[in-house]
Amino acid sequence: MTETGKLKESASQTAGPYVHIGCVPSFAGLTGMYGGRDPGAEMVTAEARGARIVVEGRVLDGEGAPVRDALIEIWQADAQGLYHSPAETRGAADPGFTGWGRQPSDAKTGQFRFETLKPGQVPWAGGQMQAPHISVWIVARGINLGLSTRIYFSDEAEANATDPLLQQIGDPARVATMIADKTAQGYSIEIRLQGENETVFLDV
């Protein structure tokens, strides 16, 4: 029970197998909906500061099979570490970058792919800096409550070592599940829903 709330949060229900119709209608074949542009498809909308990166990967089930009907959303700061959000109180984020992306996993391979920017650093609740990271939210058939995790970057070892959340998690094997590998164009990660090397999921 929440202590302060007068009302209670509406319960989650699975996004189901047809989430694409509502969230990525062009991908689902509903041609022409929303001007033919799926929400969140484009994150860098104009010239923006910082390094362009591709973040790609797969979501894997308990048998290691790619989840081919997932919807993945990401939320991140711009290259200066500022969020494009009314609740960002430290300054104005880069106008050429939305910070929010949404992609379906590929119906055949299960691959997802975001074209984004390398995020800057954002402070923790206590003011200390967090390592650069991307917040991730995953829904799909069989997922009863959206799964939250983060993507950190393998070439930020120094910042990762002092990141307050990664320090709280502690166990290096578990921390490793949240760290994306460097690729030619950016980074890649495998998100394991269950089983060996299960990804760390967060009660955000």
Binding site: K8, A11, A125, G142, P164
Partner: protein
């Protein structure tokens, strides 16, 4: 909430008992997709407190009318014409404004316009099943559609979904992100459905059940259903207070 005032506190901890558990074997698809480890709780940072916000400018004129937004000019979808409306609030009963709501649903026969739906019920050429709107300053929203049909689904037995509309909901922090489903008052399938029954708290199921709202019915046109949605509230509003003190 006055325009320009910003809620920027950390969120109330989520009451996970109100939500379905990850592993619910009677809903078969959860078996290989449920993490075994508990979610790790931590102090909200700006990464959780901030979130994307969508203005009314995003919307096309028919985005909130599923009876016509996929139809040929002059035609409309087949089915019982309904208006779904309500308010988006947080746990402290504060309206959540400028929030994007997206909905999707089967047609009146229970068939989705999706390549993975092989149900024998026919597609309606004038129905796509997708719509969206953005909440007003008082958190209110409204859209038109047709009442979706119940449909059978592969879950190992003879399982039928109650009539339902899927909702994707944004708050003003990414940690409020929620997907849920709206059911219809009086539907006998609600009690039988393995997906609904992943929710253990009967009160939480009632909260997802829209009520017939005769007061907002448009005579000779459409029946109204009322559906309020509640997102997590914020534990503190320090920034808001500071602004007021300026």
């Amino acid at each position: 909430m006055a325009k320009g005032k910003v809620q920027s506190g950390a969120f109330n901890p989520r009451d996970l008992a109100r939500h379905p558990s990850p592993l619910t074997p009677s809903y078969r698809s959860s078996v290989l997709r449920a993490p075994a480890h508990a979610r790790i709780s931590f102090e909200n940072s700006l990464s959780e407190i901030t979130g994307p916000v969508f203005g009314q400018g995003l919307l096309g004129p028919a985005d909130n009318d599923l009876t016509i937004n996929y139809a040929q000019p002059g035609q409309s979808a087949i089915g019982e014409r309904i208006i779904v409306h309500g308010r988006l609030l947080d746990e402290d009963a504060r309206p959540v404004s400028s929030a994007l709501l997206e909905f999707w649903q089967a047609n009146a026969g229970g068939r989705y316009r999706h390549k993975n739906d092989g149900y024998v019920a026919p597609l309606d050429p004038n129905f796509g099943g997708c719509g969206r709107t953005v909440t007003a300053q008082d958190g209110s929203y409204s859209f038109r559609t047709i009442r979706p049909g119940p449909y059978p689904w592969p879950n190992g037995g003879n399982d039928w979904r109650p009539a339902h509309i899927h909702f994707s909901v944004f708050g003003d922090g990414f940690a409020q992100r929620l997907i849920t489903q709206m059911y219809f008052q009086g539907d006998p399938h609600i009690q039988l459905c393995p997906i609904v029954q992943t929710i253990k708290d009967p009160d939480a199921i009632d909260q997802l059940t829209a009520q017939l709202d005769m007061d907002n019915t448009v005579p000779m046109d459409a029946i109204a259903y009322r559906f309020d949605i509640v997102l997590r509230g914020r534990r503190s509003t320090l920034f808001e207070n500071r602004l007021e003190g300026n």
